[in-house]
């Protein structure tokens, strides 16, 4: 049994719904639990926390929280004895306590020698110094969620569970919180499990991804590898596409463009404010934004045209629709085409093509 990593094996029944998963997840970084509403991702998170009764095993970096192996003596620690933190979807601040006393609630229940995050540190990370004396009802939705995150961190958890922490927020509040989440992902040494149904959030935050459907795991692995698979269950959706890491290498001041280099080629991106040369960015290229040509077209408006090789063709994933997986150097891309186009252009594995990329988005 691995000492590092999260082992989570659960069977649990809620009404007619059954969750049945067996996962070994990385012991650091942010893992997204992704899927439609009702797929069981929140139930899985609740099983891990012990909020939902379940049969199963839960081990976090060598520490056993739950072990129910039928014949063996079954042990399952109650929620308050699991060193985790949980950030809920809706506002969950205690209404009768000020922001400061909300923060102190978990903090003062942790023995002093086990505290690894100081009060001042959490307040500074989440930018709460101006609101410590306020009551929860006087805070905006985004502010409340920041307090809830700080309160969770102040228990010095060994695992941070987040259940769609942004879904109840408006766009402005989401934009306000995302940088804090990125900072947590990069600075905390503990694993984060993040439930989401938003491709944009997952693309921006996740290192690893678990896709769930009807209580079962349908795909699991590093984000970029999973997003580039043709057989992923969400490949047909409007926002299906690959994620890749790139570095901004050159600023073209005349045309207001940045050159973003990645393994296998480069893109030209519009030079939005806040970008600087040398910066690492995470890019998303949607399958619907890539068209293919057998020869290099020069008399057309699309600027990002790259040579690539067809790797795999998934025909008729839906009536009239096919998905083509391409490799530009070592970097995979997906292109969504009509099946007629695939047939007419005689697109088959191994064939060199020109990839015309209509749009590239910076997600991070």
């Amino acid at each position: 049994m691995p000492i590092t990593g999260i082992q989570a094996r659960f069977t649990c029944h809620v009404g007619t719904f059954t969750l049945d998963v067996d996962l070994n997840l990385p012991g650091s970084g942010l893992t997204a639990l992704f899927g439609h509403s009702g797929c069981g991702k929140t139930t899985l998170l609740r099983c891990m926390a012990g909020l939902q009764a379940s049969q199963g095993v839960m081990r976090v970096n060598g520490d056993e929280w739950q072990n129910e192996n039928g014949a063996d003596a079954s042990t399952s620690r109650p929620v308050h004895q699991r060193p985790l933190a949980y950030v809920f979807q809706e506002t969950s601040l205690f209404p009768h306590l000020s922001v400061k006393r909300n923060l102190m609630y978990g903090y003062r229940r942790i023995p002093q020698q086990e505290r690894r995050i100081s009060f001042d540190q959490a307040v500074e990370w989440l930018g709460l110094s101006q609101m410590l004396d306020r009551m929860p009802e006087n805070l905006s939705g985004g502010e409340r969620q920041r307090v809830a995150i700080a309160r969770a961190l102040l228990t010095s958890p060994r695992l941070l569970l987040m259940d769609e922490p942004l879904s109840a927020l408006d766009q402005t509040s989401k934009r306000e919180i995302l940088p804090y989440l990125e900072a947590l992902r990069d600075n905390l040494a503990i694993p984060i499990l993040y439930v989401s149904h938003s491709t944009a959030e997952v693309a921006r935050l996740a290192d690893h991804i678990v896709m769930l459907d009807s209580g079962k795991v349908v795909a699991e692995g590093p984000l970029q590898a999973i997003m580039a698979r043709t057989d992923q269950p969400f490949g047909l959706e409007e926002d299906a596409g690959v994620i890749l890491d790139a570095t901004l290498s050159e600023h073209d001041h005349q045309w207001h463009l940045f050159r973003a280099d990645f393994a296998g080629g480069h893109f030209w991106l519009r030079a939005d404010s806040g970008l600087t040369t040398g910066q690492d960015v995470r890019l998303q290229v949607l399958a619907r934004d890539i068209s293919l040509a057998r020869s290099q077209q020069t008399d057309q408006s699309i600027q990002n045209v790259l040579p690539a090789v067809v790797d795999e063709v998934a025909s008729e994933v839906a009536p009239g629709t096919s998905i083509v997986r391409l490799l530009a150097g070592s970097t995979p891309f997906l292109s969504r085409l009509t099946s007629r186009a695939v047939h007419t252009l005689e697109i088959a594995p191994g064939q060199p093509v020109w990839m015309q990329v209509k749009s590239v988005a910076i997600v991070d």
Partner: protein, 225 residues
Amino acid sequence: MDIYWEPVWLTLKLAGLTTIVLLVVGTPIAWWLARSRHWIRQPLAAIVALPLVLPPTVLGFYLLILLGPKGVVGQLTEQLGLGLLPFTFEGLVIASVIYSLPFTVQPLQNAFGTINEQLLEVASTLRASPRDRFFSIVIPLARPGFLTASVLTFAHTIGEFGVVLMIGGNIPGETKVLSVAIYDHVESLEYTQAHWLSAGMVVFSFAVLVTLYSLNGRLQSGLVK
């Protein structure tokens, strides 16, 4: 002057003691009734509410039998060397506790029922044990309920008559509470004394209710402030 103050003092002592006992006994019952989904919940809720509909004399009658020398409880208290409870102050406290039970349990049950379950889950992820959660989350959030329950129980015990008469009788300094004293005065045509005590009751009850309503109003506006 003792003829006035003895029943007043006895009544306040009875109501105070009953309220304290009921807050201790009624809180777990109310918590269970507010949270449980067990089938026995409805019958139990009905039993708790019985004193609301039963004539106090019925309650007093059965308590008299139960606590008397031939009753199960009576035989037990005698074996324990406690003697018989009817016509004693202690017997009166037991009767009042049963008689006022719904006035403690129902306000508390309502207050517990409005507490968002998720707040308790949150507290458990912040390392609070079940007991800790009850004292740090449930009790503070149910404060208006506790206030209503205390005041109603206290006031209702002061106003009881039928049960007292059945199980306590009319022993000065032991079981002769205000309501019985008033009845006594009226029977003996001592209207002046009856007036003093009755008018005192009216003023007292009015003051209690005004205090309750204004305190509860302030507590609630304090929560939404």
